[in-house]
Amino acid sequence: MLIYIVKRLAQLVPVLFGITLACFLLLRALPGDPATLLLGARGGPEEIALMKQRLGLDLPLWRQYLLFLADIGSGSLGRSVVHARPVMQLVLERLPATLWLVAYSTVLAVAMTVPLALWSAMRRGGPVDLAIKLAFTIVIAMPSFWLGLIFVILFAIWLPLFPTSGYGDDLLSRLHHTTLPALVIALATASLTIRSLRSAILAVLGSDYVTTARAKGAGTGRLMGVHVLPNALISSISVLGAHTSWVIGGTVVIETVFALPGLGSLFVESIFSRDYPLIQGLTIVFAVLVVLINLATDLAYALADPRIRLE
């Protein structure tokens, strides 16, 4: 197991190398450069040249790339053009909110998925199954900002249970502040995982060993908990893993609606200002996180199903 983890982490190196190169070159192909955009209306040719020189943008591309690699090596990930601070520092300020949102929403999603999928599968075709199906089809059809605003109006204005937005200072207030955004993300995730878990459960329910277990007199709880769920979870874990990777960088809308200081909005802003070092640094951070989540997903397979050996 440990060897497997080390091996997977070692695979990160070529992946990251490819990402740095692709990201570096794509950025340079975009129209506009940070010096020109930063100076905007104030930038005469003289000022722009001076700024480019200060930012090292006047160097040949290969040297800029090597400097970028050196910045990664040093751990600072370079210096943001707009913020004039090390990229790593900016990432560390924003990372906690993103990780918190990922963790909180994943927990909520799992907490919704397992019971609802079980319930739905056991009452297949019945009103409960249909109601769950309908409810989550509506959820998946709603843009997340819309759902977010509806939640704010319902649970922060009409029924003032939660604050309308913000991040909170300590653990309790953070839970309080981020429940609505985490719920919005969790509902989007759950609408996928419930479907996949429900159909997996149904497939397993039809298999011979379940019939055998039933014949041996296993109660519903034991049947579902011991025989059905572990075998049905695999496909949902991969859906959950893929969705969680998305949450890392894809929650800009949620961050915007709920004013959360996450990485997503920082990333979008950095692209608009062509903040090369910041875009490059964030891309690497996202890549590492996605690889780690994939790794965690694979490990979760092994935990859920002892037949899977990781080598």
Partner: protein, 508 residues
């Protein structure tokens, strides 16, 4: 970012309008003396010479002082750290007498601090170097006196000294703290930094050493980052903030209806227009450019896009000092537009393209409205929707025909905008329209060496009249900045310079 915001705004309109009636009372959990203000963005840096976004500028103006500052109505300069100043008759020497003021750490503001700060602002490290390049020497004959000698007469200098980039920093504290100084800067302004939670907001506390007796009334202020317009409105309604800037215009009226919230639109120095590339046909022909100005129903645009706020523009310049009240905007006159086009040889109109920044919701709507308006005189405009950085780079390189754009002024003097919008050759060659008027260039040179007064005012009026007639762009409107505050807030306003002065705000 703005792209998303606009999607969000569009989608949530109905919701937000339904909400006001159901608002609960504000919670009393917060200290009474702290104003919570929702802004759209987090600031980037508190260093006044770093390239600055609006949020940074507004915060810097609360923390630091300048020698002089624009009056609240932005019509003249008033004393800041300098209690008086004198310009020599030849316009080459400026002397400033400093008032007795202290920085927030209790040390006095001295002439040496002023000299140090202004030298820094004019150094290569400064993004605003061009504003200070006219200063030859800075002398400090005594602790309370600063004397600037210029290389040549440069009238806009006083205005540049009232700019945030001319903020006065404490030299000793700055040198002791090094790079860390701007994490918790020390200034002589009404407020000082308590904490800066990046991405969430800036907490300010009252500067007990502030030189204006009895001010600020507030114990402090929270400048909170709430990027989404609807979220700002909801927070205001829920009483989680006391004031908010940039209210979605479609909600402005409904918001004021319940009587708990006051709304306003400030006339700020901003002007929106459509650039025309005069290097390209048919925009090299004055008659075509004028025709387009007559073809657009600008009043209609105000009603449809700005919900009746804002003003129609008569030139590319916003109404600021020396503006000529008698200069009328081009009337909406389709017949005249058609006649002008026919005279220029485009009786059947022509095909062209319109560059629009996709990140500006207002301009996206504007693009479509303009497309429809131009159709009426036979001009077919293809909308080229590009993201902001590409928009700027494309207009700069001259690879466009028409482009929706806007400009704002950092100072209250028209010199800065005239230089950017109308002078060619200059840093932007008349904002990339390549429009050229020798008379404008000549007046610009003269205006900069003429002492402030009616004579200089006449020069600006002539420049603006020439721009009105020469039509380098289709002049559209001056949109305002919307804001709102709860009834317990007194004295909060957005100034024509777009910033706000919190030292005059009271909470009831």
């Amino acid at each position: 970012m703005t792209k998303l915001r606009s999607m969000i705004s569009a989608g949530a309109l109905a919701l937000a309008i339904g909400a006001p009636a159901l608002v609960t009372a504000p919670s009393a959990a917060f200290a009474k003396g702290i104003l919570r203000l929702a802004q759209t963005q987090d600031l980037v840096s508190l260093d006044p010479i770093a390239t600055s976004d609006n949020a940074s500028i507004y915060a810097q103006l609360l923390i630091f002082d300048t020698l002089l500052r624009p009056s609240k109505d932005a019509t003249k300069l008033e004393p800041g750290l300098a209690e008086s100043w004198k310009v020599s008759d030849d316009g080459m020497t400026y002397s400033f007498k400093l008032r007795e003021a202290k920085f927030s750490d209790g040390t006095p503001v001295t002439a040496a601090d002023v000299a140090f700060s202004l030298k820094r602002a004019g150094s290569d490290a400064s993004s605003w170097k061009r504003f200070f390049s006219g200063i030859e020497t800075i002398d400090t004959p005594d602790d309370r006196t600063v004397v600037l000698k210029l290389k040549k007469v440069f009238t806009p200098l006083l205005n540049n000294l009232a700019l945030f980039s001319s903020a006065i920093l404490p030299q000793k504290a700055f040198e002791a703290a090094g790079d860390k100084f701007f994490d918790k800067p020390i200034g002589s302004g009404p407020f000082t930094v308590a904490a800066w939670n990046k991405g969430q907001g800036l907490s300010l506390k009252k500067n007990a050493n502030y030189w204006q007796a009895g001010k600020p009334d507030l114990d402090g202020a929270e400048l909170m980052v709430i990027p989404e317009g609807n979220s700002r409105v909801l927070k205001l309604q829920a009483g989680e903030v006391d004031a908010a800037i940039d209210i979605p215009l479609n909600q402005l009226q409904a918001l004021g209806r319940d009587g708990k919230i006051k709304t306003a639109v400030a006339n700020v120095f901003r002007t929106d227009f459509v650039l025309m590339n005069t290097k390209k046909k048919p925009f090299d022909d004055l008659r075509v450019r004028q025709a387009l100005n007559y073809a657009v129903d600008k009043e209609g645009l105000l009603k449809a896009l700005l919900y009746g706020t804002g003003k129609v523009s008569n030139s590319p310049m916003p109404p600021m000092a020396y503006a000529d009240p008698d200069l009328k905007p081009h009337a909406h006159d389709i017949a005249k537009a058609k006649a002008l086009l026919a005279e220029a040889g485009y009786k059947d109109g022509f095909k062209t393209s319109l560059l629009v920044d996709s990140g500006r919701p207002l301009h996206r709507q504007l693009g479509q409205a303009l497309q429809a308006a131009l159709k009426q005189i036979g001009v077919t405009a293809d909308i080229r929707l590009v993201e902001g950085g590409t928009h700027w780079t494309t207009t700069k390189s001259g690879d466009y025909e028409m482009a929706v754009a806007y400009a704002t002024s950092d100072t209250i003097d028209p010199d800065q905008l005239v230089g950017f919008l109308l002078v060619n050759p200059e840093r932007a060659n008349a904002y990339h329209t390549e429009w050229k008027s020798d008379r404008v260039n000549e007046l610009y040179e003269k205006e900069r060496v003429t002492a402030d007064g009616p004579e200089r005012g006449k020069m600006f009026q002539e420049i603006i009249k020439l721009a009105h007639d020469g039509a380098p762009s289709v002049f559209l409107f001056y949109p305002g900045t919307s804001y709102a505050y709860r009834n317990n807030v007194e004295g909060f306003e957005v100034l024509p310079t777009s910033n706000f002065r919190l030292e005059d705000v009271k909470l009831k």
